[in-house]
Subunit: 315 residues, 3 copies
Amino acid sequence: MKQFTSVHDVTDINALVTEALALKKDPYAFQHLGKNKTIGLVFLNPSLRTRMSTQKAALNLGMNAMVLNIDKEGWALELQDGAIMNGTTVEHVREAAAVLGQYVDFLGVRSFPGLKDREEDYSETIFNKFVEYCGVPVVSLESATRHPLQSLADLITITELKKVEQPKVVLTWAPHIKALPQAVPNSFAEWMCHADVDFVITHPEGYALSEEFTKNATITHNQQEALAGADFVYVKNWSAYEPYGEMPGSHEDWMLTNQMLEATNDAKVMHCLPVRRNLELSDEILDGPHSVVIHEAGNRVWAAQAVLKQLLESI
Amino acid sequence: MKQFTSVHDVTDINALVTEALALKKDPYAFQHLGKNKTIGLVFLNPSLRTRMSTQKAALNLGMNAMVLNIDKEGWALELQDGAIMNGTTVEHVREAAAVLGQYVDFLGVRSFPGLKDREEDYSETIFNKFVEYCGVPVVSLESATRHPLQSLADLITITELKKVEQPKVVLTWAPHIKALPQAVPNSFAEWMCHADVDFVITHPEGYALSEEFTKNATITHNQQEALAGADFVYVKNWSAYEPYGEMPGSHEDWMLTNQMLEATNDAKVMHCLPVRRNLELSDEILDGPHSVVIHEAGNRVWAAQAVLKQLLESI
Amino acid sequence: MKQFTSVHDVTDINALVTEALALKKDPYAFQHLGKNKTIGLVFLNPSLRTRMSTQKAALNLGMNAMVLNIDKEGWALELQDGAIMNGTTVEHVREAAAVLGQYVDFLGVRSFPGLKDREEDYSETIFNKFVEYCGVPVVSLESATRHPLQSLADLITITELKKVEQPKVVLTWAPHIKALPQAVPNSFAEWMCHADVDFVITHPEGYALSEEFTKNATITHNQQEALAGADFVYVKNWSAYEPYGEMPGSHEDWMLTNQMLEATNDAKVMHCLPVRRNLELSDEILDGPHSVVIHEAGNRVWAAQAVLKQLLESI
C-alpha cells in the first residue's frame, strides 16, 4: 500500500481485514518494522478515537507518533493557491505540508469539510494539498468526504461478529440538530460496496448520498422495510448532498428504538461515535445488548495498525 | 493496587513511600514492567506538574503515555445521564470513557469541581463516570475532592526531610482572591491522618474542611498556636465547605512570614503549587531556606512512579 | 556544550556543522546517548518546525521529548519579580521553570518578544528566567532576540549547497503587514559573522538591526547592489530596532522577484518559514528552482540533533 486515503488504495480488503484481526491477537509481533519510523498526526479538527487509536497503533508497531494540532499549535493555514497573504493566514499549506514531510515517514491528516461549497469539499482541496506537497505516504484521519480508517474498523467489526456468511448490513440515517459531513456514510457505503455483504441504505427523502459512493447499494426511504432481517444496523446522521450541506427535515422519528429493531435478525447496532444520545441514538439501544459501538471503536486500533503495517512494508 | 483514586486504595502507605524512595534512587530498574503498556492522561483542566511528572514516571517504567486535553482536542462532554443531547455537548462521558479504555491499560483523569453544587462535587460525578465506564484501572490526576498523587508526594517529602520520628505537620489556610477547590487540603489531611505524624489543621472561622477527611486531626483557628513547634508547615488556600465554595473573609494576615515561622522547629514550608506569590505565600519564604516546594514538586515523579509500578504489578 | 542559547555557547561552529551533516547521513548511530534522557519542550508561542524537528531530533538520539504549551495547558505565567499575584497570573516563572527542571534533563524554551519595550526584550527577561531557575541546560527554541537552532540549520544548508569556498550571503529585508521580531535576522547575522562567508545585509532605511549582531557585516540600503553576485539570498522581514517595533515604510518593491535574482550568481533563496506568499516572497520564487526553503527546514532536524548530541555528551 502506497497511501491510505480511500478504499481505492487497498489492493485486497479481505486480506487487510485478516491482517487486522491477526494483529489484534498478537499486537506486538512487528515492532522491528516500525523501529526509527515516525508518523506525524496533523489535526485541523477535533479528534478523540482517531487521535488515540492511531497513536496506539503506531506504538504497537514500534513507531513514534508526533501529534500536531496545526491550527492551534502551529500557524493559521492559507489554502488558496496564488493568494497574496496579507490577511490573517501565516503559512501556506504548500510549505506546511512539505516541511512536515521532512520530519516524518508518514503523515496522517484530518481535515473536515466546510459544508458550504460542494465542489471544494468533494475535490478534497485541503487534504489533497497535503498529499500533493508532503512528499511522504499520507493516511487519512478523516477528510472532507471520506473516513477510511473508520470504515475499515467497521468492516473488521462486521467480520468478527457476523453469524451468516453474507450478512445484511443497513446504513440508516439518524436525526441531528447540526449539519454533519457525509464523510462517514460515504466511506462506509464505499467499503460495504466492496465487501461481501448485502448492503442497504435508508434515509428520508432529500438525504441521498453522492452516487459515487453508493453504486451497488440498495437504497430506500422506507426505514422499517430496510431494517427487516438486518444483521447489522449502522446509524449515522448526515446532511444533504443536494442542496449541499442542508437539512431538509428533522425526521425525529428516524431515531432507532428497540421496538424498531424487532424486525431485524437480532441486529448489532453500530455507530462511528461521537454520538448524541437520545437524538441520534437512544439510551436504550446504546446501553442495551444490541450495541457494539465500544467494541467497534476498539477496533480502530487494529484498523490503523494493519494500514500502518502495510505502509511500513511498502517503503 | 487495583486503582489509585484515594488513600483508601493503598494497602500499605509506608510501603508505598518506601517504594517511591527506592525508585528515586534507581529510576530505570523496572522498565520490563511497562513494556507495551500505555497510560492515557486525560485532562479536563490545566496541569503542569501532574502532566509532566506522570509522563516522566511512565517513561521511567518503560511505558508509553498518551496525553489528551479532552475538551479542547476531543469533543465537548455530556455528563448528565439520560440527557437529550440536542445542545452543545457532542459526546457522552459514558462513550468517551469506555472508548479510551479500549486504547490504554490505565487511565489517568483530571477533573476539577464546579464549586457550585457540593453534593455533585463530593459525589465525584465526573471522575466516577470515568472510573465506572472506562473498564481499566484509573489513576486520579486530581478529582473534585482529592489529589492523592500530590499527597503521596507530600508524604514522601516529609519522610525524606523529617528530623524526628513523628514530626509535627501543620496544614495552614492561606489567603487567595479566588475560590479554590478543597481537593488538595482534603487529600493532604486524609493522608496525614493515616501517617505517623502529629497533624494539626489551622484556618480562620468558616473554612472548616469536611469531617470525612479530618477525623484524627487537631483543628484550631489560632494559627500562631498551631505553628508552635511545627516541623512542616503546609500552606494552601481553600474555599469554604459550608456555605459551599464561598470565601468568608479574606484574612490577608494569614499569609505566612519568616517572623511567623520563628515559633516553629525550623519548619520546612510546603505547597502543592502553583502558588500566587505575595498573596498565598511571600517571596521571602519561597526564596528562603525554609521552602522545600521545588523538592516537593520533584517528588511528584516518584509518587506517580510508585503508583504506576504497583498498578503494573496488579494486572 | 553546556547550553544552547546563542552562537556564543558553541565552541567550534564548523565542528558543529560537520557533526550535523554526519548525523544527517547516519541519524540513529547515537541512540545509546539519549537512553533515559528527556527534554521538555516548552512553548509560550506557536511553533511548527521547531516543535516537530526538535522532537524528531530527540527521538533519533533515543531520547524522550515531552511537549508543553505552558500558557494553554499549564497556568498563566507571572514574569515580574516581586509581584503581588492578585491578578490573572497563577504561577510565577520562578516556580514553573524550577519545577520543569525537576522532570527533564534539558529544557527547550520558546518565548517571543512583546515588541513594546526594547530593553525588556533585549535583556531576554522571560527566557533568561527559565535559564536562571530551571537548573538544567536550556536550548533556545527561539527567544526574544535570537533563534540559534534556525541559524545553525541555515549554516548547515549553506555549507551543503555552496559552490565556492567562501560564498556571498545576502540577508535582505522583505515586506510584511505586521511588525515581526528581529530574532531570526539577528541570529542569522550573528552566525554569518562567525562563518566563512562574505556577508551583506540590505534593508530600507529605518530597519537597521542592533549593531551587537552585525559587527562584521557589510550593510547597504541598495538591495540591487547587495544582490549582485550573491550565492545565497536570505529573505526575512523584521520590524525596526529604533524606534523599536515600528514599521517605517512598507517598501513593497523589496519583495524578491526572479528578475531581481538575475544579478546573482544563480543564488539559492532561503527563508526560515513560515512565509507569507506574495507579500514576503513571491510564488514564482518559492515554487521555482532558486528556492531551498524546504531543504532548509528539513535541516532543522540535524541542527537540533547536533546540539542535543553535544549537550548529552556534556552531562
